[in-house]
């Protein structure tokens, strides 16, 4: 049996017997672009190439970066995006519906076996659905839109094998921060990382998405998870077309899988990554007595329904500490509505949270709410590079939504188990 990565690339390229390192041309099943790297950047290139989009049904456009518009420049970007979508007759257009990596699967666009590209570095999120998905820049995206194909170098598979059950208040985000420390941000070497084992199989889809999402932070091209019944149930509920042969992609290990790193979920504690890298992670309790200004629950990584639910679990009946602020930007409008129906948004509001738009916002250093000079933030997002979320002198700690919420309650970086009764 071949690896899942090779199986997906073999199907997309029509070439059997791929060896690691082989460069092949793959046909693209789906290309996702957003308002920042999308129409405003690909339009002039397509015009120069004198080419229209190769298949309007295989293109998904999402506005999530310059949302809400804050000035004439960003207003012009959104106007251009809408006009391009109209001119190119793109039906799959999600305007201010949430962050692309969340909107794409919730609207049924991702299913096992697809070969997809996204104009955003967190595109490996699609790997959680057993699709090969990776991020590319705007010029390369224009090439895909013009030709429907892209070159790829057949990757080796690096297996992250997780055994046993996570303890309460320990999440996929904590698993990921532990992996960032273990193999480093370059550890993925732009190969395909695959998450496997009992722990993964027991995770719901939105937790699996957190792992695949941050395969980017491990330096991998893709972050794959073999599809199972959990995947199929999600895809069907989202209205996606499940391929009849989906079990062909149910590959966790292959004969050639030799690069395996093992983890014991039962021994994992909540993690915090110190500024300015996700690999600076350690047990949350090591950071006690660290003060901060802003607690942020946001982004594709850390503000999905399941993340809002985790935050509410901690914040129910509590208030955030004096002197800190809590900002919440639900990752999609649909997840926000669901959270509102379930009383989660009310719990967050009662605890003192301020709400921001369903967009990338502070995580990407965009918008008026970005961090000010010297501000310290604890965030459920993916990246804490210097200056990423605002001023160069600001700094960011990364953690799970549980840990961000617990820290908001105490005003200091806090292991969530310390504020929970059981």
């Amino acid at each position: 049996m071949i690896t899942l990565a090779k199986k997906l690339l073999s199907d997309a390229s029509g070439k059997a017997n791929l060896d690691v390192g082989d460069i092949v041309i793959c046909n693209v099943d789906l290309a996702m672009i957003h308002d920042s790297g999308g129409p405003r950047r690909v339009k002039p290139i397509l015009e120069r190439l004198k080419r229209n989009v190769w298949n309007k049904k295989k293109i998904v456009v999402v506005t999530d970066h310059y949302v809400p518009v804050e000035n004439d420049e960003t207003r012009a970007i959104q106007a251009l995006t809408k006009k391009w979508v109209k001119d190119n007759e793109i039906d799959n257009f999600y305007d201010e519906q949430g962050i692309c990596h969340i909107v794409l699967p919730e609207r049924g666009h991702l299913t096992p076996g697809l070969f997809c590209v996204g104009g955003d570095s967190h595109s490996p999120t699609g790997g959680a659905f057993g699709a090969y998905m990776f991020g590319i820049g705007a010029t390369e995206m224009a090439g895909v839109l013009a030709t429907g194909s892209i070159w790829i170098q057949t990757p080796e598979t690096i297996l992250m094998l997780w055994q046993n059950q996570l303890r309460k208040y320990v999440t996929a985000k904590d698993m990921m921060l532990a992996m960032c420390r273990k193999i480093g941000m370059g550890g993925g070497r732009y190969q395909a990382i695959q998450f496997a084992g009992e722990t993964i199989r027991n995770l719901p889809m939105q937790e699996r998405m957190t792992l695949s999402n941050m395969a980017a932070e491990l330096g991998a091209q893709a972050g794959l998870i073999a599809p199972d019944e959990t995947t199929i149930a999600y895809v069907e509920a989202a209205g996606g077309q499940v391929p009849i042969n989906w079990r062909d992609f149910q590959i966790e290990t292959a004969e050639e899988t030799s690069n395996i790193t093992q983890f014991d979920a039962a021994n994992l504690s909540p993690q915090i990554a110190a500024p300015h890298s996700p690999e600076n992670s350690d047990n949350a309790c090591e950071f006690r007595d660290t003060a901060f200004d802003v607690a942020y629950i946001g982004a594709c990584t850390g503000a999905k329904y399941i993340d809002l639910l985790a935050a509410a679990d901690v914040l129910k009946g509590k208030r955030i500490a004096k002197g800190v602020i809590l900002k919440v930007a639900p990752a999609s409008l649909r997840d926000q509505h669901r959270a509102a129906e379930d009383g989660i948004m009310q719990i967050l509001e009662d605890a003192g949270a301020d709400f921001l738009a369903n967009s990338c916002g502070i995580c990407a250093g965009y918008g008026e709410d970005r961090l000010a000079d010297g501000q310290v933030c604890i965030s459920s997002t993916a990246r804490n590079f210097k200056g990423r979320m605002g001023a160069q002198s600001s700094s960011v700690y990364l953690a799970s939504p549980y840990t961000v919420a617990a820290s908001a309650v105490t005003g200091m970086l806090t292991d969530p188990r310390l504020v929970m009764e059981d």
Partner: protein, 168 residues
């Protein structure tokens, strides 16, 4: 004479193309390239200069402006022991030569900031003129070499479409 810019530590895409200036035109974005780690860079970099960075160069976002600003500012090659994948692809697609260097060479004392250098694309190597040292870089597949020589993906596709057109 081209000079070497020796950057130390992690050079991520936010350092190369800060998020706050991403909405601005390229020349303005380029003014802020590397300002967090090397405030004089954008003002003093000259055409043909070579950039040498530590491992995992260009880690972070998919924004190709991270590579585009370097090309705009005149950088003739980016060399590092390893690159973040998206940055690497973006650089090639924009026709910016990117080459990996064996980690052991990184300790070469003459590979210092400001060294006078000459970069050779065809047989990839970096000549350090101050002491006549030649450092071999790791060759890349012909497919990628052709993309760079064509000037990046767009001119490459223009050439291809022209050929396809003339055949039909």
């Amino acid at each position: 004479m081209p000079r070497l810019w020796r950057l130390e530590g992690t050079i991520d895409t936010d350092v190369l193309a800060p998020g706050f200036y991403m909405k601005s035109p390229l020349p303005e974005l380029a003014d802020h390239c590397l300002e967090a780690v090397c405030p004089d860079f954008a003002r003093t970099v000259r055409k043909g200069d070579v950039l040498l960075s530590d491992a995992n160069m260009g880690v972070g976002s998919s924004r190709e402006q991270a590579a585009e600003v370097l090309k705009y500012l005149g950088i003739s090659a980016v060399i590092a022991p390893s690159f973040a994948g998206i940055f690497y692809r973006n650089a090639i697609n924009l026709g910016l030569p990117v080459f990996t260097i064996d980690e052991s060479f990184m300790r070469t004392p003459s590979l210092a900031n400001g060294a006078r250098v000459k970069f050779n694309f065809d047989a990839p190597e970096l000549l350090i003129l101050d002491n006549a040292t030649c450092i071999k870089l790791i060759p890349i597949p012909d497919f990628l070499k052709e993309l760079i020589l064509d000037g990046g993906l767009v001119p490459h596709l223009e050439k291809r479409f022209l050929q396809e057109g003339s055949h039909s």
